[in-house]
């Protein structure tokens, strides 16, 4: 049963090996002279004195949450799409119900004005 996973294992090993080799080579062969001024944050040529970490406005949080909800919804489509042929009609109706609920949520957010930025 496990041997169907061997290609994925080989694939992972090749990826890790290649990336590891490249990073190691560039670390060994490339010159590196870090000093304070080079590591200072780049802001169009001016070195800022105070850090840029400031409290952000709440709109960013709202947008982030909306994105996560609909992104997770999209993730559920993948397994469903793969098995759609076996699930036949039942699968289709089930997914439509699932999407319907989320569409109601989207309409509610839209009407409440959560999407426009001002």
């Amino acid at each position: 049963m496990l041997d169907s996973y061997v290609p994925i294992l080989i694939f992972v090993l090749i990826v890790l090996g290649l990336v590891g080799a490249l990073v190691a080579l560039s670390f060994v062969l490339g010159p590196s002279k870090p000093f304070r001024r080079k590591l200072a944050p780049y802001e169009s040529g001016i070195i800022p004195e105070t850090p840029a970490m400031r409290r952000l406005s709440v709109r960013f949080y709202l947008t982030a949450m909306l994105f996560i909800i609909f992104d997770v919804e999209a993730v559920f489509f993948y397994p469903w799409a793969v098995l759609l042929r076996q699930l036949k009609w039942f699968g289709l109706i089930e997914m439509l119900v699932f999407m319907g609920i989320l569409l109601v949520a989207l309409a509610h957010i839209w009407r409440k004005g959560g999407l426009d930025w001002e």
Binding site: L29, G30, P31, S32, K33, F35, R37, K38, A40, Y42, G45, I46, I47
Partner: protein
């Protein structure tokens, strides 16, 4: 690493890799910047030499083309940008104003950018033709290919 058959061929390989993918920082100051854009567009295509990707931030670029006149107010900023570029880095001083202060020998300009950053190739002209900048880039590429493996620190 001593000089033996392995490191020289590796050095040639590294030099070839670095030389053919020199990414310039988009450091357009004055009139030479317009000619630099000409070099990047279709008629004289710098993309054939691997330098098409003019990066906006110094973090991703390894060649600074100082194209234009450097005023006294801009000098510390130019030095900061040069410091923030990762090693190995090179500088092309494009145009007479960047190389020697050019037409303006007065209080406001830095008489030559080599007063604050080490320059590898100077390009004469005010502004130089796009082909001159291409020639300077090819000279720089020969020099990079000859460098091979650079010392670690």
């Amino acid at each position: 690493m001593g000089k033996n058959i392995l490191t020289t061929t590796l050095g040639k390989l590294i030099g070839w890799g670095r030389g053919n993918s020199v990414w310039p920082a988009q450091f357009g100051l004055a009139c030479c910047a317009i000619e630099m854009i000409h070099t990047a567009t279709a008629s004289v295509d710098i993309g054939r030499f691997g330098s098409e990707a003019m990066r906006a931030s110094p973090r991703q670029s390894d060649l600074m083309i100082v194209s234009g006149r450097v005023s006294q107010k801009m000098a510390p900023i130019l030095r900061t940008i040069y410091d923030q570029m990762p090693e190995p880095k090179w500088v092309i001083s494009m145009g007479a104003c960047a190389s020697t202060g050019g037409v303006f020998n007065n209080y406001a300009l830095l008489q030559g950018v080599d007063k604050i950053v080490p320059v590898d190739v100077y390009v004469p002209g005010c502004p130089p033709r796009p082909e001159d900048l291409l020639n300077a880039l090819m000279i720089l590429q020969e020099r990079i290919k000859a460098q091979g493996i650079l010392p670690r620190t």
